[in-house]
Structures are given as structure tokens and as C-alpha cells.
């Protein structure tokens, strides 16, 4: 999908706040409300915008710890990637599961109330996963999302 300068500005604005109306965006970028609406519609229908995401304050909601896990499947476990994916995706504390190529097979984002709660999730739910082999844990200290190459 090809975007011009105005499409990029609209996309960037919506990636920060998707609740902005076509009227408000139009005023900001010097377009009429209908013209802006058509561009937003095109971005959605062309697939540039694939949906919405709600960003919640995890800490304020009592989730003080986020840990990224790298998991290598054991030799035996490699026969059943699908089993692993299904079981791991069903764990509520596991927020994202990515299949990767490199030192690990999967990368997981896990939230927990505190380190003790994380330990419980790790021991009871992650280490018991079918085929899980080597596990590396890194505790998230800070996170920043960038606008990407549309600026």
C-alpha cells in the first residue's frame, strides 16, 4: 500500500490516539472532514491499520513485573510446535508469543504482580509446558515505543 505525506501524518496521529475524529484530524492537517474520513477509511481497508490496541497502566492495575522469556524447545519437544503454541497461548499471564529463529524458538512476554508471582507462573505454568527446554528470563526495566518509519 502506497502512502503520501498526509497519509503518513494521519497514520502517525492515529497510532498515538485512535479516538481522534476525522474532523479534528482534518483541522490539524488542513483537510476537510470528508477528505480526512476517506483517507482514514482507505488506511483501514488497505490494511495499513489492522485494529486498535488499548494501552493500560499495568503498574497501576497491580502488575508490577514484566518479564521476557526466551524458550528453546527440547529435542523431543520440537516434534510438536503446535502443542506448545496452543498451551502457552492459553496462559493468562502470557501476553505475547512470538515464534523466532535464532538462539531460541519462542519469545514470550509475561506479566505478574511481583517477582514471587512471576516465580509461581514460571514454575507451575511455563516450566511444565510440553517440550520446553532451555529458558532465559530478562526482567523489563523500561520500554519505549517509537513511531517507526512513517515520520
Amino acid at each position: 500500500m502506497d502512502l503520501d505525506e498526509i497519509d503518513r501524518m494521519i497514520l502517525r496521529a492515529l497510532a498515538q490516539d485512535a479516538t481522534q475524529t476525522a474532523g479534528a484530524l482534518g483541522r490539524r492537517f488542513g483537510l476537510s472532514q470528508p477528505a480526512t474520513w476517506r483517507r482514514v477509511k482507505r488506511l483501514e481497508e488497505g490494511g495499513a491499520i489492522k485494529g486498535r490496541r488499548l494501552r493500560l497502566n499495568a503498574e497501576a492495575l497491580g502488575f508490577g513485573v514484566t518479564v521476557f522469556l526466551g524458550i528453546k524447545l527440547s529435542r523431543k519437544g520440537r516434534a510438536s510446535f503446535a502443542d506448545f503454541e496452543r498451551t502457552v497461548s492459553a496462559i493468562p499471564e502470557v501476553q505475547t508469543v512470538e515464534h523466532v529463529l535464532g538462539r531460541f524458538d519462542f519469545r514470550l512476554r509475561v506479566v505478574a504482580r511481583d517477582l514471587a508471582d512471576f516465580e509461581r507462573v514460571l514454575r507451575r505454568r511455563i516450566m511444565t509446558l510440553p517440550g520446553a527446554g532451555e529458558i532465559e528470563a530478562n526482567v523489563l526495566l523500561s520500554e519505549e515505543r517509537r513511531p517507526g518509519p512513517i515520520g
Binding site: 497510532a15 493500560l56 497502566n57
Partner: protein
Amino acid sequence: MIILDDVDRRILRHFQAEPALATADLAERAGVTAATCWRRLDRMRSEGVILAEEAVIDWSALGYTLEVSLRFTIDKDQPRAFDEFIAAAREVPEVLEIQTFLGLVDVRLSVIARDLRHYQEVYRERILTLPHIADVEALMHIARIKTDEVLPL
């Protein structure tokens, strides 16, 4: 920590599952009146429980077909090494996420590229030239299995 009641949690659970829902529809799913739902959302936004509602960009639809996780160890002999590395990483347009960690990995960058040739160019010219890198390791993304980033409320 902000104390939420059952109604708040119910609204958030449904809202997380379907972030594009209009307030009236969200109210119906959560079993509250539209006015209550609107008031609760308004309060949770102003208290900073709801940080943002963002449009999710599909970078592959824009021609960026590759995503790579680059895991860095930073040379910690320099006291400003972290700050300088992160400031320089912000200047690379293809960097989507910057995360710092406690563990074997110090910093992780999520980098997108149009194809392997473009990736090689970004990696050599923009990434390997970042300051204070002691070691770097790459994980190439193959598939996203779960992506919703929902909190288990």
C-alpha cells in the same frame, strides 16, 4: 496502585478484548448503562489507568516484511553508555521498540526492514554504528502466535 471495583474490571476486560467497540456497545457487553460506562471510562482515563487507545499499524501492509529482535550487551565501562546508546537508537527510523532489561540482555531493539537487503543495510549502517555495543545477537521473527497484550484482570 489504583483500586478498581468489579464494574471497572468488567468494563476493562471487555474493552481489552474489543478495543474498537463504541461506548454504547461496550456498556451492553459489560452489563451497565451507557452513562455509567462513559463515566467509568472517563475516570479511568483521567486517573491514568487507560493510557491510550492506539491504532495498530500493520507494517507488512506498508512493505516492511521483516522484523528482527536485536539483543544487546552494552559496554558498561562508560557511565553514560546506556543513555547514549538509547539516544542514538531513537534516531533510527526502523526501530519500533526500545526496551531495557535486568538479566543477560541489557537492551533490546525491535527493528523492521523491507527485505533482507534493506535489513543488511540498516544493520550495517545504522545498528552496528550505535555507540557502546559490547555484543549483539539477533532473533528473526517468523510468526506472531499471540499478540493481544491483554492484562489478566
